[in-house]
Subunit: 157 residues, 2 copies
């Protein structure tokens, strides 16, 4: 039962089982919500959405599951600076929806953007390669985020 670096491919069940994790009702429910919500959900958001259908899944399990998922690279844990972590499903098998975030520091609104992604991906590739070699780092992830004021907040009183 390998438990460490299980970054293989395959979806859902396979990924879980292959790493020695058990596939439980609660975990599937959480994955389900994440998949259909397309948002940036906090642990509690998820709890709220899971609870009606699975009243016996507790907040603790949500946190634990998110931890596992993020460890497996299936979920990104995000920080928008408002004191609670947000989670979103990592892009599916296709790597389809690669995007980054634009955060309003006033109202906390978050915009997903996909502009400039090509140039960015290019830079990231180079940077990761360069940094990895220079600092002997095995880079697994990155965060790019812009902060500022959205139209509404920038035109406030």
């Amino acid at each position: 039962m390998p438990r460490g670096n299980c970054q293989g491919q395959g979806w859902w069940h396979g990924k879980f089982r292959g790493c020695g994790y058990r596939l439980t009702e609660g975990r599937e429910a959480i994955l389900d919500i994440l998949a259909k919500s397309e948002g940036h959900l906090s642990a509690e958001d998820i709890y709220m959405k899971v609870h009606p259908k699975y009243p016996n899944v507790g907040l603790t399990t949500i946190y634990r599951t998110l931890d596992v998922l993020s460890g497996l690279g299936m979920v990104y844990k995000l920080d928008f600076g408002d004191g609670r972590a947000r989670y979103e499903l990592a892009e599916g098998p296709k790597g389809a929806h690669h995007h980054h975030h634009l955060v309003c520091t006033d109202c906390n609104k978050v915009i997903d953007y996909t502009d400039f992604i090509d140039e960015e991906v290019e830079l990231l590739r180079e940077t990761e390669k360069g940094l990895g070699k220079k600092y002997n780092f095995k880079i697994t992830n990155h965060v790019i985020q812009f902060y500022g004021l959205c139209g509404k907040c920038s035109g406030k009183k």
Copy 2:
């Protein structure tokens, strides 16, 4: 006494006073520590360093001051994913030490790097301009951070 967007230039005293903030012993002490420590200090780290010399400066004041400083753009508030915020002085008048972070997700070691900054700055400039226009966002800041395993941790058991 304007209190809002005080992003003018000028250093220290001027910046403070100009925004209606008072320059107190505690605030200077904190700025001092940040200036000479060149690190990524947590509120408590700062408290520890300030306390010997100014035993009457409390943790609460540290937090409050860091909040003000970060609001003024004099300090960056960073999140390395270990549950406590870190702070570092924004680059001085010169914009000299622009850098980003490489974070080991295992031992939490943080490396500051300045490689690829030129290309990056170029991309950022474009991105900020493009996003700002498209989403009507007034971008004030950004975060770029890479996560991975440092040499030591990647070669662990």
